[in-house]
Structure formats: structure tokens, C-alpha cells
């Protein structure tokens, strides 16, 4: 390879043609393929969100009937969860930067890495077959027995989610092995960037929790196709058992979505305040702590399901414990700014936006963890607002921040700072306008997944719809900023932000195997002295 490096070759232009991409084993190229995939799915899921807010603009029928609306809401949820947020950070930014953060040439199993991308594509294709069979109207949670009896393409959507699960498991497996085996000389665990710690904790969750979802979805398919009677009460099954299985995966999945986002925020905050992170070990161990505890809190989704009071109290207690490591992280990030040298480029704006929104998502999480309070809030818009504050206000803000942060490295081009800041303002303001009113709607008692609502809920719903369209505009502009940057952006230097992690020591874009010479690490990842 050294000959080609001399000619200014990088991972983007060292091979040409679509075939070279579809068969690539380079973790960076696979990361870029995930980027495109996730962006396409995000556009589709986002379009459904815009349509949902269009329908909810006024009480009564606006643009579609209740059956179509229920499909919008299902496709929005399923696409955003399984095809955007879960692969969004680990498989896209993680794939690209985890090996580089470790000083490695690639992940441990490059072929498995490519396979995981194909699992996502095949799974997504199977899911979309459901559209031929009248779509899916179960909500992304597939609660039984409705998901057993509804007469449409649910089986295909569930089968697709099953296949996509393998994508997640394989990526997680790859990251665990890579982190253990491919660290550069001198890269001890405590010299690893916090993004790696976050991805490592995520990977453990992906490997341990996703199989439970796979089994559950298989049982649901068996139920629908063969009538085995595990969840169907008319055959002696128990519909609540499905909820236990489902949330045993899907609660850890929430942390699969948020932990990597926390990793990105750690990177951006240190780079843009040019200061060593405050409490490195506390942040690293709190990622692991959150990952472990997240396996024992699933019952907080089921306070009203009919589970026993003892279980309710226990799950409420354990859920409160998750709040502690989460709070620690937030305090550490704020403390990192103290006596720093803070620049407000777009990645930093998104990271600070993350802190703002995630704090609100966090305190409302405590309200929902309080068993007595959750009885009223459960299945209302309060919950919808809460998890959007965490998933969109948290994860998506971090993805956007990470995207702008690493764009110069990935494509060797700078983005337009002015327009990138405009996207931040639109997304951040639009987000609060959309979702803050939903806390109030939920407190007032408006249940979620409602096609129609009582007249007293209309004004707040209207505000929410305007906010959603503002977010949509922001993301649309962001798309143009990104495309423009890749095609016409100014050439980027190898380290435009003056950051200290290893990916910035190699050229932008990086050469085929990342580093011309294997880096030797002598200190921590944030040595701004």
C-alpha cells in the first residue's frame, strides 16, 4: 500500500466503482455505506413524522383516516428505532472511528462487518415487504394479542426486525473483540477515548440483549403463522409475557441508542474547550454501570400492565439508580468547560444542545420512574415527549454534532459553518417547540397513539406541529450542507479542531489502512496541556 500512499491516495479513491463499495472490507467504507443507509431511512422515518404532525394539526380528520394514521405512527417508530437510531451511531460513526481511536487498521472481523451491513439491508427490505400486505398498524412495540390478530403485513415487519437484529449483534461482537485485541502499543484501557468506552458498553448490550428480541419476535411469528399459543390468551397464552420479553430487550436498547451519543459528546466537549475531560474514569465507569443496570429496569414500562405491586416498587427503585451515573456524566461535562477555552463551532453547539435537552429528558425520566406518578403519565404524551427529549434531543443532536465534527476527517472537506449553525438553531428551537407542549398535553391526560383528540388539546397540538415542520426544515438544510461540503467544501487539514485523539494524527481523508505507521500511544486521549 505504501506506493499508493505516495500518490496521495486515500480510502475513498484507492478503489473505484460501485462494486468496490459493495464488496469492501474497509471499516471506513462500510461506515460510509451505513451513513448513506441511515440517512435514507431517516428521510423516510422523518417524512412519516411530518405526516403524523400534519394529521394531528387539528382535531378530527385532516389528511388521512385512522387506519393510515396508525400505519404512519408504526412505520415512523419502527424505522426510526430499528433502522436509524440503533445503527446510527455505532454502525456509522463507530465503525469509522472506533478502529482509528484505537490506532488499529480495521475492526477485528472485516468480513463480519460487511455481513452486518447486508443484514441491515436485507432486514429492511423484508420489513418493507409488509407494505404489499396492507402495511403494519401495531405500533413499533408489536404488543400482543393485537399484533397476532391484526390482518396485514405484521409478520414481514417482525421478520425484518429479526434479521436487522443480527446486524446489531455482529457489529457489537466486532467492537468488543476489536477493543480487546487491536489496540495500538501503549493504548491501555484508560488511554482509550471515552467514545470507545461508550461503544464498548453499547456493544455488550447489543450482544447480550438483542438475541432476546430475536427469540421474542420469532415466537410472535410462530404465533401468527402456526398458532402456537404462547402469547394468545384464547390459546392459553399470556399477552403480558410478551411485554416482559419485549422490554427485556427494548429497555437496554434505549441505552444502545443513548450511550454512544454520550461518547460523542465527551469527544466534542473536550476538543472544543481544549481541555482534559473532567472525571475520565467516572464517565467511563458510568457507561459500564448504566449498561449493567439497564438489564434490570424493564418493568418500569409495565407499571399499569397488571404486574404485582412488589415488582412495581422494585423496578421503580432500580430505575432511580440509573439516574445517578447519568447525572454524574452531565456534571462532568459541565465541569469540563470550567477554565477551558471554548469555541462555538457547530459540533459544539450540538453538544451543548444535547446537554440542555438531555437534562430535561433526564429529570422527566425521574418523574416517570416514580411508580405513583407513572400511573397517570403512562401511555400519554408525557412519555412521548420524554423519550423524544432523550432519543432526538439526545441521540440525534449527538449524531448531528458528530457528523459535523468528523466530516472533515471522513471526506477531507470542511462544511459551511454559517449554514451548519442555521441548522442547529432550526433543529434546537423546533425541537423544543414540538416536544415541550407534549409534556403539558400528557400531564393534561392526552393518551399517545391517538389519531383524534378532544378539542381542548388542539392548541398545544398545533404548536407541536409547527415545531415539527421547523425541525424538518432544519434537517433538510443540513442535508444540503453535508452534500455541498462533500462535493465543494474547502479542503480540510488533518486536524482542523486541534483535537488530541488518534484519528486526527493521520491525513484527511485517511489512507486505506488508517495510519501510515502504527501509532505508539504514550498518554491519555485528552492531553491538552
Amino acid at each position: 500500500m505504501s506506493a499508493s500512499h505516495a500518490e496521495g491516495k486515500n480510502y475513498l479513491n484507492c478503489e473505484k466503482g460501485l462494486w468496490s463499495w459493495l464488496t469492501t472490507l474497509d471499516h471506513k467504507r462500510i461506515g460510509i455505506m451505513y451513513m448513506i443507509t441511515v440517512m435514507v431511512f431517516f428521510a423516510v422515518g422523518g417524512t412519516f413524522a411530518m405526516l403524523i404532525r400534519g394529521e394531528l394539526y387539528s382535531a378530527g380528520r385532516n389528511i388521512v383516516g385512522p387506519e393510515t394514521y396508525n400505519q404512519f405512527m408504526t412505520f415512523h417508530g419502527a424505522i426510526m428505532v430499528f433502522m436509524v437510531i440503533i445503527p446510527g451511531i455505532p454502525a456509522f460513526l463507530g465503525n469509522f472511528f472506533l478502529p482509528m481511536h484505537l490506532g488499529a487498521k480495521d475492526v477485528a472481523f472485516p468480513r463480519v462487518n460487511l455481513l452486518s451491513w447486508y443484514c441491515l439491508i436485507v432486514g429492511a427490505a423484508i420489513s418493507l415487504v409488509s407494505l404489499i400486505y396492507n402495511g403494519v398498524d401495531t405500533g413499533w412495540t408489536f404488543y400482543t394479542p393485537y399484533s397476532i390478530e391484526t390482518n396485514n403485513g405484521t409478520t414481514w415487519m417482525v421478520a425484518g426486525a429479526f434479521v436487522m437484529g443480527f446486524s446489531s449483534i455482529l457489529t457489537g461482537l466486532n467492537f468488543i473483540v476489536t477493543t480487546h485485541k487491536l489496540r495500538a502499543p501503549g493504548m491501555t484501557f484508560f488511554n482509550m477515548p471515552l467514545f470507545v468506552w461508550a461503544l464498548y458498553s453499547t456493544a455488550v448490550l447489543q450482544v447480550l440483549a438483542t438475541p432476546v428480541l430475536g427469540i421474542t419476535l420469532m415466537l410472535l411469528i410462530a404465533e401468527r403463522v402456526l398458532g402456537v399459543g404462547i402469547f394468545d390468551p384464547t390459546l392459553g397464552g399470556d399477552p403480558v409475557l410478551f411485554q416482559h420479553f419485549f422490554w427485556f430487550y427494548s429497555h437496554p436498547a434505549v441505552y444502545i441508542m443513548i450511550l454512544p451519543a454520550m461518547g460523542i459528546v465527551s469527544e466534542i466537549i473536550t476538543a472544543f474547550s481544549r481541555k482534559v475531560i473532567f472525571g475520565y474514569k467516572a464517565i467511563a465507569f458510568s457507561s459500564v454501570g448504566i449498561a449493567v443496570v439497564s438489564f434490570f429496569v424493564w418493568g418500569h414500562h409495565m407499571f399499569t400492565s397488571g404486574q404485582s405491586e412488589a415488582a412495581g416498587i422494585l423496578f421503580s427503585f432500580i430505575t432511580m439508580l440509573v439516574g445517578v451515573p447519568t447525572a454524574i456524566k452531565v456534571f462532568n461535562w459541565v465541569a469540563t468547560l470550567y477554565k477551558g477555552s471554548v469555541r462555538f463551532d457547530s459540533p459544539m453547539l450540538f453538544a451543548l444542545g444535547f446537554l440542555f435537552l438531555f437534562t430535561i429528558g433526564g429529570v422527566t425520566g425521574i418523574m416517570l420512574a416514580t411508580a405513583g406518578l407513572d400511573i397517570h403519565f403512562h401511555d400519554t404524551y408525557f412519555v412521548v415527549a420524554h423519550f423524544h427529549y432523550v432519543m432526538v434531543g439526545g441521540t440525534l443532536m449527538a449524531i448531528m454534532g458528530g457528523f459535523y465534527y468528523w466530516l472533515p476527517k471522513m471526506f477531507g472537506r470542511m462544511y459551511n459553518e454559517f449554514w451548519a449553525r442555521i441548522t442547529f438553531v432550526l433543529i434546537f428551537v423546533g425541537f423544543n417547540v414540538t416536544f415541550f407542549p407534549q409534556f403539558i398535553l400528557g400531564a393534561m391526560g392526552m393518551p399517545r397513539r391517538y389519531y383524534d383528540y378532544l378539542p381542548e388539546f388542539q392548541s398545544l397540538n398545533r404548536i407541536s406541529s409547527f415545531g415539527a415542520w421547523t425541525i424538518g426544515t432544519g434537517f433538510l438544510i443540513a442535508l444540503f450542507v453535508i452534500i455541498h461540503s462533500i462535493r465543494r467544501g474547502e479542503k480540510a487539514t488533518s486536524n482542523p479542531w486541534g483535537a488530541k485523539t488518534l484519528e486526527w494524527t493521520t491525513s484527511s481523508p485517511p489512507p486505506h489502512e488508517n495510519f501510515l505507521e502504527t501509532p505508539v500511544v504514550t498518554g491519555g486521549p485528552y492531553e491538552f496541556r
Binding site: G65, P66, N70, Y143, P145, Y146, E149, T150, N151, P233, P239, V240, S273, R274, V276, F278, G279, A282, F303, T304, S305, G306, E309, I313, S316, M320, G323, V324, A327, I328, V330, F331, V334, A335, L337, Y338, K339, S341, V342, R343, L352, L355, T359, V363, I366, T370, A371, G372, L373, H376, D379, A443, M444, G445, P447, R449, Y450, Y453, L454, F528
Partner: protein, 324 residues
């Protein structure tokens, strides 16, 4: 604790009216957490904004402090949130147990969820649909189940909610301290008309309740009038009395009786008494086509066992009176 009451009053501005004593206790805890959350948000976000502005980069040669950690500070900001969480947990658990522990001698009502209605059955044999009448200042225990999929019985004013699960009974209790009508929602997604699965709790004086219990709603009514009552309670959410449009989710009842029905399997039949009866009790037996030619979605639940013979006959007679 005056500030707490004030806070609770402010927080409950955005809450539904308080229909029970527990609802006001609930709002106090909610008010406390809202205030605690506001303070934490102001501290965190205020600190964030303050540091970010104060330590804004002035030149590219800025030197920054090298502070790796501070064990005492970190212990403090782990332990203090932990203590607050424990206060909230204990207080929340107290309210949770209040909400979940049914007093002895509570008056019992059976509740059945069925797409997309709530049926109520009293021990005296009295039944009602989408309107649950209960006496004021009396502990009421609801024994809830579902005839088809999951539903959730939710009364915001009482701050209570309980899933209706097919194949098992779940419980919920409340003691309404005000006379009036209170909204009931279905809070667990149950398909097409989930958002129209609404009901009312009508809290009345004990005397009025006794009178209502004795009252036979169908007494001295003509069959068609009985049918109209049943229609208004159970059918109106889907079957509307307007000419069928492409957006209708179910066939219109206008002029239905006596008409020739075209079915999805390309057969047809005249809508007579037997056809109506079968369509109500076993709704998926024959699926009607829309005017446009495609079949209606087979979403109607079967009403076998949910209607009395009197109500069934009433519905048939009522349909006969509806002309296009």
C-alpha cells in the same frame, strides 16, 4: 411547606381537575418534583451557559487548566442526587401503594374493554356502555378485563390507569369526592378506533345512584328506540349515519336494511334479519365491499355474548327505520 402547596397548585394548572383525594396528594408530589427538576435544570444549564460564555476562546494560544478530577466534588454530586432520588422514590411508592391498595368493602363494578367500547356490569345485573355511574364518597373497585386485545382504563381526573388484559382480571380503585362527569380514555393502543374508545365516569349522589341502579333504561321503550340507544353506545364510533364515502372505515347504516350487499368473495346477499344478526354476532363471516370495489377492512369485533336478545332485536328494528 407552604411553598410546596403553592408549587403543587401551579403544577396542577396543567393537570386535569382533581376528582379524588389521592389526586391532590399526587399533585403535591408532582409539584415537588417539578420544582426540584427546575432547580436542577437551572443549576446544570445555568452552569453550562455561564462557563461556556466566561471561558469563551479568546485566542488560539489560550492555556487551559489541567483538572482531571476532584474526588470530593464527584462524591457530592453523586450522593446528593441519590438522596433526592430516594426521597422521590419513597414518596412515590407511598402514593403508588395508596393507588393500588383497595379498601375493604369497596363497591365493585366489572369493566369489560372491547374494541372500541367500555362495558360496565354491576352486581345487581345492571349494565351500561361507555357511561359508568358511581356513587360519590364511596370506594369503588373496578375489576377489569378485555374481550379482545389490550386496552387501558384511564381516568385522568382520578390519576388512575389500569390495563385491561384478555384472559385475566386486573384491579383499580378510586373514591370520587366530587359529583360530576369525568373523562375516560383508552390508553393502550388497540387498533383503528383507539382514539375514539372514550367513556365517562358519572359521579352522582348516593340517592341518585340507588335510583339509577333500579332504573331499567329500556322500560316502556319501543324496540327501535332500544336499538337506537344501543347504536349510540356501541356502533356510532364506526358506523355513521351519513352516506358512505371513500374515507368511511365501516359501512353506513343509512338504507342498509333490505339492500343487496356485495361481499369481498364476490358473492352477494340481501340484508335481512338473519344477515344483520350474523354480522353483529360474528362480524367476519361476510365482509362487505366499499362503493369503490375494495373490501372494508375486517376490523369489527364479534359481539356474541355482549348483547342481550332484546338489544339485538332492537338494533334490527332500528336499522329498518334508517332510510337513505
Amino acid at each position: 411547606m407552604i411553598w410546596l402547596n403553592t408549587a403543587a397548585a401551579h403544577a396542577s394548572t396543567f393537570m386535569p381537575p382533581q376528582g379524588t383525594e389521592i389526586a391532590s396528594q399526587y399533585d403535591k408530589l408532582y409539584g415537588f418534583i417539578v420544582i426540584a427538576s427546575l432547580i436542577s435544570c437551572v443549576l446544570v444549564i445555568g452552569g453550562l451557559v455561564m462557563f461556556a460564555l466566561k471561558y469563551k476562546r479568546k485566542s488560539e494560544n489560550d492555556k487551559t487548566a489541567y483538572i482531571t478530577h476532584d474526588t470530593r466534588l464527584e462524591f457530592a454530586w453523586s450522593f446528593i442526587p441519590f438522596l433526592i432520588f430516594m426521597v422521590v422514590f419513597v414518596w412515590g411508592t407511598y402514593i403508588y401503594l395508596e393507588l393500588r391498595t383497595v379498601p375493604k368493602n369497596a363497591f365493585e363494578v366489572h369493566v369489560f374493554g372491547q374494541k372500541w367500547n367500555w362495558d360496565f356490569m354491576y352486581k345487581s345485573g345492571k349494565k351500561s356502555t361507555n357511561e359508568m355511574v358511581v356513587p360519590v364518597n364511596t370506594p369503588i373497585k373496578l375489576i377489569i378485563t378485555s374481550r379482545d386485545v389490550l386496552h387501558s382504563f384511564y381516568i385522568p381526573a382520578f390519576r388512575v390507569k389500569q390495563d385491561a388484559v384478555p384472559g385475566r382480571y386486573t384491579k383499580l380503585w378510586f373514591n370520587a369526592d366530587k359529583v360530576g362527569d369525568f373523562q375516560v380514555f383508552c390508553a393502550e393502543y388497540c387498533g383503528t378506533n383507539h382514539s375514539r374508545m372514550l367513556a365517562k365516569v358519572k359521579v352522582v349522589s348516593k340517592d341518585d345512584f340507588e335510583k339509577w341502579l333500579q332504573d331499567n333504561p329500556y322500560k316502556d321503550l319501543a324496540s327501535a328506540d332500544v336499538g337506537q340507544k344501543v347504536y349510540n353506545a356501541k356502533c356510532i364510533a364506526c358506523h355513521q349515519l351519513v352516506p358512505e364515502a371513500s374515507t368511511s372505515i365501516a359501512p353506513s347504516f343509512l338504507g342498509l336494511f333490505g339492500k343487496t350487499r356485495q361481499f369481498a368473495d364476490s358473492t352477494s346477499a340481501q340484508a335481512d334479519e338473519n344477515y344483520i344478526r350474523e354480522s353483529i354476532l360474528n362480524s367476519k363471516a361476510k365482509i362487505v365491499k366499499r362503493v369503490s370495489g375494495e373490501a372494508f377492512p375486517p376490523i369489527m369485533p364479534a359481539f356474541a355474548g355482549a348483547l342481550s336478545e332484546e338489544e339485538l332485536v332492537g338494533l334490527i328494528e332500528y336499522l329498518k327505520t334508517l332510510k337513505e
